[in-house]
């Protein structure tokens, strides 16, 4: 896992979302919008997003972390913070 800066994190998030919602339109998504609502991600989509982000960044994302992944800015901050710290204990 390597540390991400904010801009890397944003692009990882957007890219991951695009994989799930190919025609996601980020121009109408403000940093503080709830992207699950705007982009209509259902629980399975969201789970996929978690999976992707986890894979790509190496960050462990638990269910309790889900509320951190509500807006783009929250999620960015979350990834930047988590990649800066050592990973938590893994199974």
């Amino acid at each position: 896992m390597k540390p991400l800066n904010a801009s890397d994190a944003v692009s990882v998030i957007k890219d991951s979302i695009t994989r799930i919602v190919p025609d996601a339109d980020f121009t109408r998504l403000e940093p503080d919008d709830k992207f699950r609502d705007v982009l209509e991600l259902d629980s399975l989509d969201f789970l996929s997003l978690v999976e992707l982000l986890s894979e790509r960044t190496g960050v462990r994302i638990d269910e309790v972390d889900y509320p951190e992944l509500t807006t783009l800015s929250d999620a960015t901050r979350f990834l930047v913070e988590r990649t800066a710290r050592p990973p938590g204990p893994r199974r």
Binding site: P22, L41, D42, S43, V50
Partner: protein, 506 residues
């Protein structure tokens, strides 16, 4: 050197059109090889030459009408001393007919593949008898063919693929066929005399043609209009014939579109607006068609089925706790979502209340022997699919979850298989992620019930006289009053509730 002339192919033939050359100058030909296609008033006929040798100049371009007897090409008989540069010779014939030394140079460039050998040589030896005969004719043709070498060099070089290395034991027609059908002659086992590759060998070696799909004309039309690849559609008609319903099902299931999601499709279409338009309009038609299909089905359901509706709000605290515990130690890929539990509960409840699991047909209800759960999946571009999780009641939640994820993903990518779109005995729809609390659905005939789940929300909840905040979900049941009465429906929702209180047993 002799002339290959327009043959008389029938008593009434005076002239013919040289339709196509199957050889080019420099090719080795043998007596009996098919070298050209001539079109008469009656048919296109493959014509053979009567000399063995090397094709010199082609005197007549394709498309020319010439009288019978007119020279079409010059054929230089083999073993003529001073063979032209570039006139490749096959090792087989070289060894058999000509003195090896004269052909030594060209041989180097030929492929040793194939089965040259004594058998081939023996056969070729007989070909040698032909030599004196063409010689006689050559005199006549000497005029037009006076400068075969220069004529040859003036011609633009042929594509290297074929000319570079005439394959052992294959005549011009066979080579032509091979080129036409994309057959690599090197890989073909020749069954002719001396291992010679015959026409039949090439035909056998052809990649199998696309499976001829048995489909009705209307289904074909629909498939074309909706851009569905018929080979991907499972036919339910006579002998597996694809019928319109199958195409519609494929559209609804999202299987079979010829252009499944290509990530770069947008950019692609931007670059090629000519192809973009039809593709887009096809997509629109597909959407229209799905809309129409849904419209038809739902109208029919609404028209024919007397629905009754029940709902129950279910405490999900136990289920959510259980999920949380399960997921805590799992990587995201292995985690469960509450939908999986809800589906499982719905399926097990259906097994318990079989009167809701089956079909209304012929004025009567027929219970299904298994629980195949249709799962309504909304598509981003609009529309709805209901892929089926077969035997959902028997699947452990993990498996159910994996199946659900897989189906939903493939449904949205248009990758469902036919069997995954049919056979549902009960359908579940969940609009919880869209934020609604309850969904009162329309039954999908000939099924007799539809189960709906709303959003999991936190609500004040009294348990044992104590008020607390609990996650709850509103489960709804739309059921066919022809098949069941409200009491049955109530039993079903009660069962769902009960099952969700002991998630670990699901």
């Amino acid at each position: 050197m002799t002339a290959f002339t327009m043959p008389s192919l029938g008593a009434d033939m005076d002239e013919g059109v040289l339709q196509e050359w199957l050889v080019k100058s420099g090719d080795r030909v043998r007596k009996g090889d098919v070298v050209a296609v001539v079109e008469t008033d009656k048919a296109a006929i493959e014509v053979e030459c009567f000399q063995s040798g090397t094709v010199g100049r082609l005197l007549v371009p394709p498309g020319t009408r010439v009288p019978v007897g007119a020279p079409l090409a010059v054929i230089d008989e083999e073993a003529v001393p001073g063979g032209r540069a570039g006139a490749a010779e096959e090792p087989v014939t070289a060894g058999a007919e000509a003195a090896p030394p004269t052909a030594a140079g060209p041989v180097a460039g030929t492929s040793p593949r194939g089965t040259p050998g004594p058998a081939g040589a023996g056969r070729e030896a007989s070909g040698g008898h032909e030599r004196p005969t063409p010689r006689r004719k050559a005199a006549r043709a000497s005029g037009p063919a006076a400068e075969p070498v220069r004529g040859e060099t003036r011609r633009p070089p042929e594509p290297a693929a074929e000319s570079a290395a005439p394959v052992v034991g294959a005549g011009p027609l066979v080579r032509h066929l091979a080129l036409l059908h994309g057959v690599d002659l090197a890989a073909v086992h020749g069954t002719g005399a001396g291992g010679r590759i015959t026409r039949a060998d090439v035909e056998r070696a052809q990649p199998p043609p696309g499976r001829r799909v048995r489909a009705t004309p209307y289904a074909r039309r629909l498939a074309h209009d909706l851009d569905v690849d018929l080979t991907t559609v499972r036919g339910t008609g006579d002998d597996g014939a694809v019928r319109a319903a199958d195409v519609n099902a494929a559209v609804l299931a999202g299987t079979g579109p010829r252009e499944p999601e290509r990530p770069d499709r947008r950019r692609d279409s931007g670059r090629r607006p000519d192809t973009a338009a039809p593709a887009d309009s096809r997509a629109e038609r597909r959407t229209d068609s799905m809309r129409r299909a849904i419209a038809d089905l739902m109208s029919r359901a609404s028209r024919e089925i007397p629905h009754y509706y029940l709902y129950a709000t279910i405490d999900l605290a136990a289920a959510e706790d259980w999920l949380r515990r399960c997921n805590r130690d799992r990587p995201p890929a292995d985690r469960l979502v509450s939908a999986a539990l809800l589906l499982k509960a719905a399926a097990v409840a259906a097994r318990e209340v079989p009167a809701l699991n089956g079909y209304w047909r012929n004025d009567g209800f027929a219970a299904a022997g298994e629980v195949n759960l249709g799962v309504a999946v909304s598509l981003r571009q609009g529309g709805l699919l209901a892929p089926v999780i077969h035997h959902a009641d028997t699947l452990p939640p993990d498996v159910l979850m994996a199946r659900l994820k897989d189906l939903v993903q493939r449904a949205r990518r248009g990758r469902l298989r036919g069997s995954e779109t049919t056979g549902a005995t009960l359908t579940v729809t969940s609009l919880g992620d869209q934020g609604v609390e309850a969904v009162f659905g329309v039954i999908h005939p000939p099924q007799v019930a539809l189960v709906g789940f709303g959003a999991v929300v936190e609500r004040p909840w009294a348990v044992h006289g104590m008020l607390g905040v609990r996650p709850v979900v509103t489960a709804t049941l739309a059921a066919d009053h022809r098949a069941t009465d409200g009491a049955v429906g109530a039993r079903y929702l009660t069962a769902v509730d009960r099952l969700l209180q002991t998630p670990e047993e699901l």
